[in-house]
């Protein structure tokens, strides 16, 4: 019997859960206690077999009201792919205007998950009126 304590990160409740399993962790072999909702079981299983995280970072924007736009992976990606995905995103520069949902990368670090803009950046006015 294996045992691990973990914090479920799926929602702000942050349940402290006790996970027990025998052999390979699967739906049948895993037992979870302390979760306030059923999603805790799925989280525990994924955390034991293949932990995933959402990457949230920024890309450079040319000619915008701000120099960068925030982005995220459209879904959580394997934790070990986060660093490579971040490096790929860091090489991207967009031209303003940038819209929410605009795809920045179609496939982050070979995970098949795209990276999308989360904060719109309007174009910077080239000339301001005198008053």
């Amino acid at each position: 019997m294996n045992e691990r304590q973990m914090t479920c990160i799926l929602c702000p409740n942050g349940c402290e859960i006790d996970v027990r399993w025998t052999g390979t962790p699967t739906d049948e072999t895993i037992r979870v206690e302390g979760n306030l909702c059923p999603r805790g079981v799925g989280f525990a299983l994924e955390e034991l077999t293949h932990p995933k995280r959402t990457l949230t970072t920024s890309v450079l924007v040319r000619g915008g009201v701000e120099p960068q736009a925030s982005v995220k992976t459209a879904a959580p990606i394997p934790r070990e792919s986060i660093e490579m995905a971040r490096r790929e995103v860091a090489r991207v520069t967009l031209d303003a205007p940038v819209a929410i949902g605009q795809i920045v990368l179609v496939d982050a670090a070979g995970t098949g998950v795209p990276v999308a803009v989360t904060r719109a950046v309007p174009r910077r006015a080239t000339e301001r009126s005198a008053d």
Partner: protein, 416 residues
Amino acid sequence: MPESKRCTDVVVIGGGPAGLAAASAAADAGAEVVLVDRNPRLGGILNQCIHDGFGLHAFGEVLTGPEFAERCVARAVEAGVDLRPDTMVAELTPDRVLVCTSPGSRTRLEAPSVVLAMGCRERTRGMLRIPGTRPSGVYTAGTAQWLTNMANVRVGRRVLILGSGDIGLIMARRLTWEGAEVVGVVELLPYPSGLPRNISQCLDDYGIPLHLSHSVTCIHGTDRLKRVTVARFDDNRRPIPGTEFDIACDTLLLSVGLIPENELSRRAGVVLERTTSGARVDDRYMTNVDGIFSCGNVLHIHDLADWAAEEGARAGRHAAEYAAGAAPSDRLDLIPIEPGPGIRYTLPQAATRTAKRLLVSFRVVEPSDDRTAEVVAGDRVLASLTLRHAHPATMAQVEVDCGDGLDVDRLEVRLR
């Protein structure tokens, strides 16, 4: 003195999650609403909170801060709110007259209802009075977040974080992703003050150590921060001699608490509560000044933007009702709600006798397990809530069904 003139029904000051929700709810309730915010971009601090975890309660999905802000703005536009960014309120009087300035103009607004939603700011090094030199490289966590996420400025390479508030934890991960080395988080209290999931996903994921019952006792460096001295602190929050050690770092982030930004409120005569540093309000979120309401982080610090928005929506509905003349001011007959054993504060601090349902938010004094929070009148328990993990970092809410109104002298929230 120009003649008094009503410009609109409700003016909301502040365009963060609470203010936008208040404005939308007031407009939905039929009021004509103007929202002013001093920044060019609406959404408040959400815009720099590019991490996800917002919106689960308010929108039923996981969003980043900027996406949450965009939803709130879209909802306000749809509700017909007159949104005025780039507009700073310079003056607010008890008669609800506002003087606003914006680039190139100065305007005067007057309304029966004003909703305060100015948010909060961070505690600084000066407020902590940390001894030592004054080098560059010492930032509040939120300033570092703005520099990193909005201004594309690198804040440093080797980072120590003082305080385990959520912004500091989020920045530990953010700066790690940006290639900085985060050498640790130092927390004065024997327990973390941020959400457990942020300890897990921002520190534990990256092996960043958390030093509980420790704090910074000295800052060293001339031009740039070189190192800080850290010591163990006792239960009375005093450094224990002989436990000092130095940590080399070029950057120190402070995540040591937030302070409601109530300068305008004070000038309008709003009475503030010592424990929350926000206004004293009744269950309508009305302050001691008739027609002035308060919600969100300017009222008390929330752990989630979702809760700030929900509170804003409630305050906005009451502000609209008051503007329409439907809600009389009956503050002489308010029932005080007081924190009892184990409770740091309650919100609201008073209830109107006509309240049908009473939603009481509260925070506990210290962490403990398997507790029950009760709302009591004398020895009568009106409502209770089971708390498996009671923690000061988590705001809890209990609802009281008041039936046909409350006929009591005093309410107390206590922890059993």
